[in-house]
Each structure stands twice: as C-alpha cells, then as structure tokens.
C-alpha cells in the first residue's frame, strides 16, 4: 500500500495499479497443489472403480473439483462461493469445448505422420491400390489438383472480393447495406448447394466434370470470406489519407487505386489467404463437380481431377487399415496446408499494422 503515497519530488512516477482481488503467491500455490491432488484422486477413482477412459477421468475430476471447491468455500460468503462454482463450471465447459479439436490435432499428427514418407508427396495412385503398403503410391496428384483448383478460385474471387470491399468502404453507395447483407448471408450457403449450382450450370453446359467446375464451386464459397476480410482491412485505412489525397487534387478513382489500395496490399493478401484456407478442405462441392482421379491432371478442363479432400474421402469409404492410414496422412497434409496458410496470413497481415 505504501507505493500509493509517492514522495513529493517524484510526482512524475505513476504508482503501480493495485489489484487487491489478485490471489497472492501463497493462495496460488495452494490452489495448484489442491488441483494436482484432485488429479491424482480422480486417477485413483478411474483405476479402482468402474469408471474408465478419458471421459471417466474427466467426470471423476469434475466431481472431485466440485467437492473440493465446496469444502474450500465453506467459510466464505455466498457471493464468493457462487463465484468459485461458476469458475469451475466455466473452466470445465472450456475444457470440453477445447478437447475435440485438441484431440483432432493430436490424432491427425500421431496417426498421419506414419505415412508421411517421401513417396507420399511425389507419387500418385495410378498403379497403387489403396490397400498397398504405405511406402507405395502417394498423394502428389491430389495436392496438385487441390492447388490448381484453389488458385483458379482465388484468381476469380480476389478481384471481385476487393471490388466489393472498395464499394463498401470507398464508394458507400445506396446499396451498401444490401451488399453487406448479401455477403453475410452468402457466407452461409451450404457447400453442397454451391456444388449443385455449378453442377446444374457449368458441368451441364460443358457436359463433363472438370477442375474448372470444382474451382468455380470453391469460388462461390470463397467470395464472402474474401469480400468480408477485404472490407475489414480497407476500413483500417485512416480517413486522413483519403483527405490528403483529395486535397492534393486527386480524383476518387486515383485516391482509391493509388493511395488506399496500395496501403493495404498485404492486408488484401491476407484476405486471399484466408479465403483459400476456408475452401481448401471443402469436400462436398468437389464430389459433385470435379470428382476424383488417381493420376496427374494438369488441365483444368480435362475431365475429373484429384484433390486432397476427395482423396481422403475416397480412402475413408474403402475402410481397410492401410487406406485409413493413408486418409490420416492426407488429413495431416491438409491440416499442415491450413496451418501454413494461417501463419502466412497472420505474418502478412501483421505487417500492415506497423
């Protein structure tokens, strides 16, 4: 408490804010010890009684923590007792909420890494059956097909997304509300509906399944993400910049094209990357538009083409041990791609703010 009354000659020193509700070191360590004890206790319960598995352990831990909290709060008033219980509930809800995707990360890495051999990234499945050993065949054709479709989709979507971002932030016309509304509701179009749409139009028109059709379906799904991110990024451009440009005599088109857009170049990259990350794992639309293929296809109009999601999906349906293992490895590659895209997006997007 003594830090609050600072000596007169040192008035410029700002006193540290005090947080009286903050637990002291002692209560913290007591809490940790109690929590560790509850962990052991619940492990013992799992070993000694009928409860079993991770779910049994979780349940036992929850009950033990509730009992411990009750005992520890016997002497406190009603308010802080309630606070403690809510804390336990919130923490357990969080654990339950985070458990699935942590388990997914873990199992994809653990099970996928076995098949991640050099051949997986360079060979295709043309002369390999899914049931063959993991050192034969690979998913290179699927990776290339995915890349091809996603790049075409990005090339279509990026200009459109940027245009609608520019419309929402620079032009601000009468349709601003409507455009924003449509973009938001479009982001909820089910992926299979996008696939059906492209099937009834493009596939029907060209009368064959192709990578181009897949790319168009992905573009439909990608557009809202890109448009929204582009709008968010363009909103960050300070109005002073626009005013300065106008004051120098620039017209609106020059201001937008030569001042505003170059300022957020890396932010727009982020928009594109996030859009790609959104669609790279989409399976359903590709099942209706690009189908799958076991060999290399480089021509987007040259008939069915392989892709990572359909590769994994196909293997899953075969369901033998080796094919499931291949599916895990395919998922690992997919997850790594998403991770790399996200990290790049963060890295690139972080540049703008400096």
């Amino acid at each position: 408490m003594s830090t609050i009354i600072a000596p007169a000659e040192k008035t410029e020193v700002v006193p540290e804010p005090i947080t009286p509700w903050k637990p002291s070191q002692k209560t913290k360590s007591v809490s940790i010890i109690v929590f560790l004890a509850s962990l052991f206790l619940s492990a013992a319960i799992v070993l000694l009684t009928g409860l079993a598995g991770i779910d049994g352990f979780g349940l036992a831990l929850f009950c033990v923590v509730i009992v411990v909290t009750t005992v520890r709060n016997l002497r406190s008033n009603q308010k802080s007792r309630k606070d403690a219980f809510v804390g336990v509930f919130v923490a357990s809800a969080a654990m339950l909420a985070f458990f699935p995707w942590m388990s997914i990360f873990a199992s994809v890495i653990v099970k996928g890494v076995r098949g991640l051999q050099p051949n997986f990234l360079v060979e295709n499945m043309q002369f390999t059956t899914p049931d063959d050993e993991l050192n034969m065949g690979g998913a290179a054709h699927a990776v290339i097909g995915s890349m091809l479709m996603v790049s075409i989709a990005a090339a279509i979507t990026l200009p459109l997304g940027i245009l609608s971002g520019v419309y929402l932030t620079e032009i601000r016309g009468r349709l601003t509300f409507l455009v924003r509304f449509v973009v938001q509701s479009m982001s909820g179009v089910p992926s299979i509906v996008a696939g059906l749409f492209v099937y009834t139009t493009f596939v029907d028109y060209t009368s064959k399944f192709s990578g181009m059709a897949g790319a168009l379906a992905l573009a439909v799904l990608m557009l809202p993400t890109v448009a929204r991110t582009a709008e968010e990024v363009l909103k960050l451009v300070p109005d002073d910049l626009r005013s300065a440009s106008y004051a120098l005599g620039a017209r609106q088109w020059r201001t937008s094209l030569m001042v505003v857009l170059p300022t957020v170049r890396s932010g727009l990259m982020t928009a594109a990357i996030l859009g790609v990350a959104r669609v790279i794992g989409e399976t359903a639309p590709l099942l209706l538009t690009s189908l799958s293929n076991n060999s290399f296809v480089f021509n987007p109009l040259g008939g069915p083409i392989g892709s990572l999601p359909t590769y994994v999906f196909g293997l899953l349906q075969i369901g033998t041990e080796n094919s499931i293992n291949r599916a895990w490895t395919g998922s690992l590659v997919l997850l790594i791609l998403v991770l790399v895209l996200f990290t790049t997006a963060r890295y690139v997007g972080g540049k703008d703010k400096k």
Binding site: V86, I192, L196, Q252, F342
Partner: protein, 326 residues
C-alpha cells in the same frame, strides 16, 4: 467596448459537394458492378436450382416435403418414382438442434474462459488456436468422429439409454448405438463449437473495459461482473454466432455422411441408429442417380438453400443490429 456581434458568430460550414468527372463515374460503375456480383450470384443460385427442379415441385407439390420415401422407379412404370425428403428434413433439423444444444454452453463457457479467466499468455495462445480450430475442414472432423469419437459416443448412448430409456426421446428399438443422430450431433457440436466460441469471444472482448472495472470497484466478484455487464452486453452477438453455427450445421455434408446411418423413415429417437440429413442425401444419391432423381436432388438442395438462407439472414440481421447499437 466589445467586438461587434457579427464577428463573434462562427461562419457556417460550407456545404461539401463532390463532382465526379467521367473517369470517376466509370470507376464507380466498375466497382459497383463488382460488388453486385455477390448479389447476382446469390440470385442465380436460387433461380437455377429452382428452375432445374421446378418439374419436381410441379409433379409432387407439397408431398415432396411431407412424404417419406425415396424410391427410384423401375423406368417402365411398374414401380413409380417416389421422391420426397420429409425424414431428411426433420433429420437435418434434429441433428443440428442436438449440435446446437450441446455446443452452446460449451462455447459460452469457452469464450468466457479465454476472455476473463485465462492468463494473458494463455489467452493469446488460445485465441490463435481457436481461429485455427474454426478452420479445420469438416472432413477431418468426420474422420476423427469415425475413428476416435464413435466408440465414446456409443458408450454414452448406451449409458443414456439405460438410465433415461423411459423417455420417448431416448428409447431405442435396436440396441445398436453407433451412427445415431446423437453421435452425429456430438461431432457436429464439436465442429460448430469453435465457430460460436470465436464469435462470442470477439463480442465479449468488445465489452467496455470501464463497465467491467466499475463492477470490480463496486466490490463485485468476477461472476457478478460477467452476469451484470458482459452477458447482457454480448447477448445478441452470441445469438448471432449461434445462428451462424446452426447454419453451418444444417448444411454440413461429409461429417454427417460418415457418421449417420441414412434411413428413410421419420425418426425422433436420438439414440436409434438411423437418421438423415439433406446434404448427405445429395452426396449419397448423386453418384448413381437417374435424370429424374437428379432433379429431385436439386430440389432437395433448393429446400436446403432456402432453409440456410433464412437462418443466415436472421443471424446477419441480429449481428448487424448488435453492432449498430454501439
């Protein structure tokens, strides 16, 4: 002597006017056209799906929605075509509702934990991971569900059935607990939880810091501050996030396809190993569909499109309203 009153008055602000020249007008027209593509695209999706399936709605009318069969005819008219999506429609709603009910408390708890309980370092890590988790492809959720989760799901179903089997919701006819709406709903719940958590956390983080600090200054506990300030403030945002999650669950294809036993029968017993979902119906029947059946599938897609569109429009307007009030 004072200055004359005329000088004291501030001059009226000059009205700003913009005159667009031809280059500007062209630029504005191009940008507007670009922005309108999403509107046109949405319209095209609706129109094309409707036009291509009009024959089905014409032939079958309301029976397409209420009927419960999906039988391809024999072609010579002995067995007539009979396509309707009743059980799939109710199945879609059932599975999505299970997912929503399970994920809401978890998502709110998770968002509160990240925003108000976690230490600053943990908060940073969890926020990043959360964004990443919301981007895990649903296919991987399906794979995880089939290989990892389904055994737990079966165990929980068995447990629920033996304790609460007297409830109509929980009874079963066959004691096979896998591939039920409950199991699919659990996996869908884990799929939409990161999305709802992400949106809720975002909304909670926008709570004015002053208000929360005021609560603490008045002697409130952490729960007191959350109950009186954070939750009322973030309510509509959380509802909007939940609707987004619901929209995602309604349109989910592969995860449900892999985890649900698709049977054409009305089923509201959530532990029974049968159910349906429009999106997975399309994926299931698409491969070997006849021309007429394809039209029926497109019609099913159109119904799904309308359903998710309504949910998303409601969600968008709720989110819009909650952000405009600030």
């Amino acid at each position: 002597m004072s200055i004359s009153p005329g000088l004291q008055a501030t001059p009226e602000a000059r009205e700003l006017s913009v005159i667009f020249n031809r280059a500007d007008r062209i630029f504005r027209r191009i940008v507007t056209a670009g922005a309108l593509t999403s509107l046109i695209l949405l319209g095209l999706i609706g129109t094309f799906l409707f036009v291509r399936s009009a024959q089905i709605f014409n032939d079958r009318g309301l029976k397409f929605i209420t009927g419960s069969n999906w039988t391809a005819g024999s072609g010579d008219g002995v067995i007539p075509d009979d396509f309707s999506i009743g059980p799939m429609l109710t199945g879609t709603l059932l599975v999505s509702l299970i997912a929503l009910v399970l994920s809401m408390p978890l998502a709110i708890g998770g968002a509160l934990f990240v925003e108000f309980y976690a230490t600053p370092g943990l908060k940073k890590v969890l926020t990043t991971l959360l964004d990443l988790a919301a981007a895990i492809p649903s296919l991987i959720f399906g794979l995880w569900g089939v290989v990892f989760f389904s055994s737990y799901g079966e165990r929980w179903s068995d447990l629920l059935n033996s304790r609460f089997g007297w409830l109509p919701l929980m009874e079963v006819q066959n004691e096979v607990f896998g591939r039920s709406p409950f199991v699919a709903g659990c996996v869908l719940a884990s799929l939409i939880t990161p999305i709802i958590t992400s949106v809720s956390r975002e909304v909670f983080s926008r709570t004015p810091r002053d208000l929360v600090d005021t609560c603490y200054a008045l002697g409130s506990t952490r729960w007191g501050a959350i109950k009186t300030v954070v939750l009322p403030f973030g309510k509509s945002g959380v509802i909007g996030g939940a609707m987004l999650g619901l929209g995602r669950a309604l349109g989910e294809t592969v995860a449900v396809y892999l985890l649900l036993n698709i049977v054409f029968r009305y089923n509201f017993r959530i532990l029974e190993s049968e159910g349906g979902n429009i999106a997975s119906l399309i994926a299931l029947k698409f491969g070997e569909a006849t021309e007429y059946e394809l039209k029926a599938l497109v019609a099913a897609g159109f119904v799904l499109f309308l359903l998710t569109l309504v949910v998303n429009i409601v969600a968008a307007s709720i989110v819009e309203r909650s952000t405009r009030h600030r």
